[in-house]
Amino acid sequence: MKPDFRRCMIWLHTYSGLLIGWLLFVIFVTGTLSYFNLEISQWMKPELGSYKSSDKLLNQSLSLLSEQTNKSQRWQINLPTERDNQFVISWSIPDVKRAKRFSMILDSQTFNEIKVRDTNGGNFFRTFHYTLELRGFGGRYIAGIAAMVMLIGIFTGVFTHRRFFKDFFTIRINKLMKTLTDTHAVMGVITLPFCFVISFSALLIYISIYVPFSAQHHFDNGYRDLNKLVSTSLPKVTASNIAVEPIKDLMPFVNTVKTYWPEKAAIKSIVYEQPFDSNGRILVYRNPLISLSNKAEVLAFHAKSAELLAPIEPERTARVIRRIFYGLHEAHFATPTLRWLFFFMGVASCILIASGLIIWLNKRLDKVKKRHLGHTLVERLNIAGIAGLLLAITSYFYANRIIPLNIESRAELEVTTFLLVWFICLIYSFIRPALKAWSEILFFTALALLLLPLVDFLIEPNWLMQALEYKNMAYIGFDLALLFSGGVCLSIYKWLKGVIEKPEAKNIKSEIKTKERALC
């Protein structure tokens, strides 16, 4: 029975991986980039500058908000952080159906409003990795299937690689196939817990749309009703209808908050509910660096008396577990070191998937004398899905810098550029010989990545200069990451060029030899 079971596992690992491998690669690449979602957005919105946050911004924001309107029911101040440098104030005014929300992005030094370019920034990668730009067309279901297949791949992979733990620390470099197989195995080992947590949490996040039946059976509005029952939140503010002037100094609240949250830059945002009512309430939200859970930590105060109000009640264990998995998936709690480690594991997962796809093809091409349509299809999809995706991502960054700022639907145009370049790569992979298509697309990507920091500097030198002056590591780090990625692509291109030239040189040598023999 044992060998049959293993054979089944190998079959399942091979074909589940092959069928959905390209999709998994796309999801993992864009998901990995999402770890630096906010940093990418900083680079893609250079108008925001590189200013640091301070508690002093709060009082000035309050006076600015009070200048807007006296009908507002909710004020919000989002402070800039090292990761997210957007300093935003927003206010909402009650309307017939829903409250109308207004916001202003401010310069944290001058308090002038900043006009930021229309772009999705790094958020595009975050939404793309679970909607695949198919929101409303089953994108999240497709991503869910991919997560399930990844889980199957993880379990079957352990049975497939017999010497899994014996070859724990080995990558043989003498032969390409051995190198690829060992890389696949080592990446599989090191990303085993990571891939499990990511895939499992992906399923758990959208459990309400993947398995809605139980909630639909027990509640009128399905999961919406269930969510309301199991989630805890602060009670709604009841207006006293006694009009008062909003408070002007938030520092007493900030000082109290510091006794509860002693870490540096603990405050993420402040919400002032019912600012013109005597029952007004101040909510202070914590930067999510302490807990794995995605539940926002908040301190609530009575606005007039500055009295600390009752906290949110703890949630049920099942809900807490879901929140921890949600938090682990998004990793908002991660410090820069941990964020880079997550990024490293994300990259390793991408290498795992890509190497798996290449191994499948090479193993079969070695065995068959004549290739069939399936081989060609896999070969070309590998090129477009792996190398093409990298070029498409690079083109998205170029679109951000090159598309004029005053064009309507600019953000959509950036996304269109990404999809268009990817499609062109697919066509290109079908019209060129495979190895040449690989090397050429990688060369274009390398060139584009290496030139992008220069293009950025030529468009507006002040952005980089300001980042250097304010030690904005998000901006500088992004430029360095572009150069590093360009270098890696260039190295792969050079190696591939060597692979292409070797057989050609061999052919020429053998031709010369036969000619010499003929002459003799």
């Binding site: 014996k166 620390f169 080995t170 990558i171 090191i190 990571f194 941990l338 997550f342 594991m345």
Partner: protein
């Protein structure tokens, strides 16, 4: 955290050296059974120690750090062993 990372790296190196294939690659001589046992015991002890020296903080957060370090350290050891084997091939070639 850094100390835990270094201890874990040493632990994994010892565990990799407890395998005759890797030991021969680095030291160019066969691995004796008693040495393999010592490497294995020391490796596991240090691996456990690397977790416990940071476990005074939130266990959940520490586990995330520890597993992330584990991934990076296994990769470092695998890369080092690959580098040794590459040098061996070059020398023998």
């Amino acid at each position: 955290m850094l100390i835990s990372f270094i201890i874990q790296l040493i632990a994994l190196w010892l565990l990799s050296m407890a395998m005759s294939k890797h030991f021969r690659l680095v030291f160019k001589k066969p691995l004796e059974d008693n040495k393999a046992m010592i490497f294995k015991i020391l490796g596991w002890l240090l691996l456990i120690m690397s977790f416990f020296i940071i476990s005074n903080k939130s266990i959940a957060m520490v586990s995330v750090y520890w597993f992330s370090y584990l991934a990076l350290n296994i990769f470092i050891i695998a890369a080092c062993n690959a580098w040794f084997s590459l040098n061996k091939i070059k020398l023998s070639g």
